[in-house]
Symmetry: C4
Subunit: 281 residues, 4 copies
């Protein structure tokens, strides 16, 4: 979507005036001015994120709190101006506003304004990090996008596998969590089924915080069995599945033609004669 905003000539304002110049500077990175704009923008985003992060450290906030507060507002006003300029100079403002980068650009300035009413929400400005995706445009790393695109396509290709996996995991986690809730009772930390599900997720992903652990013998035994089975599945079955699917893939191509003489299957694509009876294929 972002690409369509940048590359679509229809999106560019038709008249050849200051709006067009502004568009070239803000949306494109091919002219020196446009590149400089993007570089300054990325620097400002990074600085603004660092300011928010430092502001959250109480020892810094005590000393530099006022400075951080001012800087945060300066950055927010700058980004707001930039957002408005983008809206003005683009051909179709609504199209930009609803595009991926348009939404991110808006979300990146909202938290500071929101913090006037809802203290604490200013930390959400770190969503500005997503704006850094523009860095790929500045560095002319179109191929990086291609890499990401490949990953997304791979994910989309394995959508069915992922759906199946998610369904299996969710069912497993709900049943396992409930079992542990019944077995452990409220003494251990398994105080409710949702909390037990949280434990199950922490265990199955092998994160294993240790804030909730089974304490009864039965609970520990069940957890052990589940862990070994799960470990076996993800470590052995997954690679096995890959190999199997590859071999299936390979054999699909090797189960070539059938000999009319001896009915032997499995001839290679380039075979001219049956390898078992010698009859011409």
């Amino acid at each position: 979507m972002a690409a369509s905003v940048n590359n679509n000539p229809q999106n560019k304002p038709p008249e050849n005036n200051w709006r067009n110049t502004l568009y070239t500077i803000i949306f494109e990175a091919d002219t020196p001015a446009g590149k400089l704009f993007d570089e300054v923008l990325i620097l400002a985003i990074l600085l603004s994120i660092i300011v928010v992060m430092l502001d959250s450290v109480s020892s810094f906030a005590v000393i530099y709190g006022g400075l951080f507060y001012s800087m945060e507002w300066i950055f927010t006003i700058l980004f707001t101006v930039e957002y408005l300029l983008r809206l003005i100079c683009v051909g179709r403002p609504t199209r930009y506003a609803t595009s991926f980068f348009g939404v991110i650009d808006l979300l990146a300035i909202l938290p500071t304004y929101l913090s006037l009413m809802l203290p604490g929400s200013q930390y959400l400005v770190v969503i500005r990090g997503l704006r850094l995706l523009r860095v790929f445009r500045v560095l002319k790393l179109a191929q990086y996008m291609g890499e990401a695109d490949l990953l997304i396509r791979a994910l989309r290709a394995s959508r069915r596998k992922i759906t199946l996996f998610l369904f299996t995991v969710l069912t497993l986690v709900v049943i396992l969590g409930s079992l542990m809730y019944v077995i452990e009772g409220a003494e251990s930390g398994f105080t409710s089924i949702p909390r037990s599900i949280y434990w199950a997720i922490i265990t199955l992903t092998t994160v294993g915080y240790g804030d909730i652990v089974p304490e009864t013998n039965l609970g520990q035994a069940l957890a052990s069995v589940i862990m070994i089975i799960w470990y076996r599945s993800s470590n052995i079955a997954v690679p096995t599945g890959i190999v199997t699917s590859e071999i299936t893939f390979a054999s699909r191509y090797s189960k070539g033609r059938v000999c009319l003489n001896c009915r032997f299957e499995g001839h290679d694509v380039d075979a001219k004669f049956c390898k078992r009876c010698g009859a011409e294929l």
Copy 2:
């Protein structure tokens, strides 16, 4: 098995009356009524699971406990009626009752009745989650089942590898657990061999709760050595094994014999005649 219940025409009651109509509604998802039935069923299952989960959270149970209790019984009675209808309208009741979905359907209603005698067991109704597998039928996602089938076949194909893996892990875990029990003594948390085995499983699966940890120098040293060796094995050896087996697979097909007539290489192991010139090998 479930598939055979649904697709086998012999399972359908022969007479063309209300039982047949009921069968079409309950067991099939092709008619509007059948689809609606399945959709309502899935919704009811989901709702019932959510009710049980919320009921386990004490802060909710205090307020809505009575409501949850009533809803749970309404759902259970509904599912009981549905189970009885299934038994009535199906051609061979015993065959359905012993099929995968038949057992699940029974297990999904038992816990509530059981909770009258054994408080706490009502949480086991989350086994209803398995009933959601029917969702695949409603969504006409037969291919999802194919995906699962592929996974199951992959697991079955690597049965020997899994047996070997399980045996290795169990032996390793028992010996390691006993060693740590002897080394650590009862001060650390290694209070018995089964408990030490529980620790070994938590460590080797890299879950690492931290509820039981080695505290002596010797115990920490042994744990370190085991962890590195195990990590190396699962991270390096497994992919290596895959590559090795693939290369073996590939080379078996690429080396082959050479035809003495036309010097063609690359014949399969089972080839008797040259696939290019037909000469006997």
Copy 3:
């Protein structure tokens, strides 16, 4: 080695008397008596391991301690008699005694005798678990051994990769442990370099007990950087490496013959004409 003990006819005693019969019963599993012997043996081993495990649980030991003690000694005496019989009936006793199974058989009875002098060492009899490897012989699962053999060969084939990996990990772990020791000081739990190395191993293998954790800002920052780099390496680089090596492997075979006309490399094995200039190869 064990296989050579069992299969090598030279190992069998030459005279055709009771020793030969005993050999057939004890070492082979082809006759009914031999199979029965192996089955009883496996059962005895399993029982003996279970007795030791239960004996370590204090609540059981208090009640059944005497029974467990007697059973343990009965099993040990039985296994001692069996070991002596093996030594007597085998053709070359020293060869059996130094073979893999010979050593295991001896180690499996020593701990109980040792426990008379060194209390606690009787738990080491779980090493009997390794004797269960004989189960593969009884179940005629020669192919399982083949599977294990494949794994061992895969490990041997990647010996260089493993050496490199181990060296890298050990160096990394020593340097990282020392750095953390200097950074964290003794307050956190990094009380010595060996202990810091133990922490580094727990962290890099992602076990993460949490018994020792960085507490200073610098320590947490260093740990974070190391974790991300390490995670990236093992999750991205390893599969990448596999694909790379496979492609290398594939291209090594595809860089077939060279066209004498246009010097184009990369012809397939079955190519007759240069695919670029059409000249006969």
Copy 4:
């Protein structure tokens, strides 16, 4: 770089005197004297590392502290002399001093001298571990270097993938850390955004110390969702991506064009003539 120091004949001092002999002993491992020198060096490095490690254990330091201190200084002086000799006998001292091994050799002696001013820094001498890389030269294991070289090339080949991965992880970790900071507040341990980022890294790498854990319901729910999505991505998407790219790679070669003359399929993308009949494609 190190290789160029050792192998480049221009780096060898031109005159055929004691400097040349020294160069052969110190920098080469082909002569008996050179091999002995390298072996003694490796032993000294190992010993020196062990001394530092033992010195950090307080129970040893109390007893052998003086001995360790003396040994540490003896080793440092020895390595300093060795470093100076290397500088003297090498043809281009600055080139050696700025090479990989030159820098390591210097860093390996600095900490002890530094410890006179900055107590505690002497533990950094474990950087001497990197000097052990020379062991590969002594053992004539050039192929090990080849293995490492392959790994480095694989890493370099997947540079784009790694950059993308790092950028994704860093953005994810910053946003996730900030979200958790806002959700959890300072009660749990999420006392600042950098600390929350540390938590996010520990969670996503599945290390899971458990020193900082979400305690609010919302925080646990968010953590659960992130863990499952992340687990799914790294366990399913990565292998899927590999298979996808391999199949892409394979299909690129298998589909090809069809010869209009002999109907032979499977021509490569870059083929101009049929490899079987020589007809132009």
